[in-house]
Amino acid sequence: MATLNLKQVEKTYAHGYKAIHGINLEIADGEFAVLVGPSGCGKSTLLRMIAGLETISTGDISIEDRVVNTIAPADRDIAMVFQNYALYPHMSNYANMAYGLKNRGYSKVEIDRRVREAGTILQLTELLDRKPRQLSGGQRQRVAMGRAIVREPKVFLFDEPLSNLDAKLRVDMRLEIKNLQQRLGTTSVYVTHDQVEAMTLADRLIVMNGGVAEQIGSPIDIYNAPATQFVAGFIGSPSMNFLSGRVSNDRSHVVLTDGTRLALDHNVAENRDVIVGIRPEHLSITTPTSSSIAAKVRITESLGAETLVYLTFGSKNEAITLRMQGTHKYAAGDELTLYSNPAQIHLFDQASGRRI
């Protein structure tokens, strides 16, 4: 049980590359925090700094009010689960889980109790005597999680633990991790590039981009009010549609590149250049009005429960995606008229990408 604090944390790698540009973060006791962002944005770097596998260039990381900057990884009271499992291949699964406890001087009885208990929770009891290579990917990752939970650490760290698993297993394990974390109530930091994983697991989401935390908040808050165009495009699937436009003189409309007008109820300066963001699920098909978009169908994807329609719009062939419930069939070249409720239209500054 512990809080985790990052104060103005920065990382510059040996050859001068700055991977983390000043991150501030407070993770509450028992909270499940998810670091999400595209590949290379510095998620692993930040997690590894918390673990002690990378040095901290400037700033402070504290676990339960103790600054851990110079404390050895083994003494930070954290446990980590790696993407490629990182099990010790020459040891049995039992020995893999027991190793960290043994080195910390726990008694044989206590080690056995904890390993067997973790084995039961993770349904590994029958597999404890085997070697990691005799297990499937999913089972190996369970052993790796077992190795983390037997330690009963203050903080769990996960670095893309599900990325090596197939799609179905990934969903199952995601639920298991969530369940386990809620049951144990251990403060956790979880790294992923998969926004669905991030949305479903997080109590709090940290969306990272280029070594900066672009937005920190609950998944729903971030979905409803993304702070930047980057966050808006990254969170939500399929991605939000972006169209360039300019706010009209009377501020009641935004005018898109081909002259199409969309009604607004935002408080925004007239004649300002903006990016209009509309999520695919917030568009619907209507009859033409003074505030609708006429677009041409390119491709239709039927997923059964829903249909994704990819369209192009205007003289610049800007792409628009539409997400509809149920099954619909459109031919390439069909003209559709789309509408969005003004309350569900997001505006971003064209220059800075910040939310207006």
Binding site: A51, L53, A74, M80, A86, Y88, H90, Y99, N103, R147
Partner: protein, 292 residues
């Protein structure tokens, strides 16, 4: 397992023919000759010979000089194998800490492999030259009364040193690639599980290097048995008094210098048997033990 069938075309035989001919001329034929010779006793001038059954073997096995050489070979081979493995493992671990990721270092370290073997023996002789050898002079300045020409232990020290020196670079490369084959995340997971670096080495790194270590044991013992012939011939020539003559070197001394073809052949047949047994034993052991 699927097998590729070539039918009965002679082409494959043609392809392996050169290798077979080389093995036949340079290995099978001399081996057969040795076996044949080992049962013969030649007169002093090599004019006539007579079939004597196992008398040559009996003579060899009961000769004090052969037993002495066998004893030296065991000590020498073990020292060379253990020392060169230990030293190269130590160097490889230290190097691995530095070069994780840095390719340039790795290339530089590879040079040792390319340069050392041909030069090592020669360098060794020069270092221990009684007139100008740096180590010879240094040891005597330190008051060690070092004299490998007359003292058997000192001579052993010299050949072991040169043999180890020559072999360390080979072992180093194998250990270094073995170390680099250990996934970084496994080492990192161990860092979280165990604070003591020494303990991590013995519980994680070393067991994971076991296949490499056993492979090198085989290679190094074979090396110490056979390939050190050149080093011994160049440095001590088995002196003083045969105290640095390995079994292989003794075969050469007795056969070519002493012209005792029967005895020398019996010795090589014994060597062949020992090496076959050793090889079978080692590979059996490796197959059984080194799997994870």
């Amino acid at each position: 397992m699927k097998r590729v069938q070539f039918g009965h075309s002679p082409v494959p035989y043609l392809f392996v023919a050169p290798q077979i001919i080389i093995i036949a001329i340079f290995f099978l034929w001399p081996a057969a000759q040795a076996v044949h010779q080992s049962f013969l006793l030649e007169d002093a001038f090599g004019m006539s010979s007579q079939f004597v059954w196992f008398r040559n073997f009996n003579d060899v096995l009961s000769s004090p000089s052969w037993l002495k050489s066998a004893g030296f070979t065991v000590v020498f081979s073990s020292l060379v194998a253990v020392l060169s493995i230990a030293i190269s493992l130590f160097l490889a671990v230290r190097a691995d800490e530095v070069i994780r990721g840095a390719k340039v270092y790795k290339t530089l370290l590879m040079w040792g492999y390319a340069v050392a073997p041909p030069v090592a023996g020669l360098l060794g002789i020069m270092l221990f030259n009684p007139l100008m050898g740096d180590l010879y002079i240094l040891f005597n300045k330190m008051g060690l009364d070092f004299n490998h020409i007359q003292n058997g232990n000192d001579a052993t020290f010299v050949v072991v040193l040169i043999a180890v020196w020559k072999q360390v670079s080979v072992n180093f490369i194998f250990f270094l690639s073995g170390l680099q084959g250990i996934p970084k995340s496994v080492t990192e997971a161990a860092t979280l599980d165990c604070k003591s670096a020494g303990r991590r080495f013995w519980t994680i790194t070393f067991p994971l290097l076991a296949p490499t270590t056993f492979f090198l044991m085989v290679i190094n013992l074979t090396y110490a048995f056979f390939e050190t012939f050149g080093i011994i011939d160049v440095s001590t020539k088995g002196a003083p008094g045969g105290s640095t003559a390995t079994l292989v070197y003794k075969v050469y001394v007795d056969g070519f210098l002493g012209a005792d073809m029967g005895g020398s052949s019996a010795q090589s047949v014994l060597l062949m048997i020992m090496v076959s047994v050793l090889t079978v034993f080692q590979f059996r052991f490796i197959e059984r033990k080194i799997h994870y």
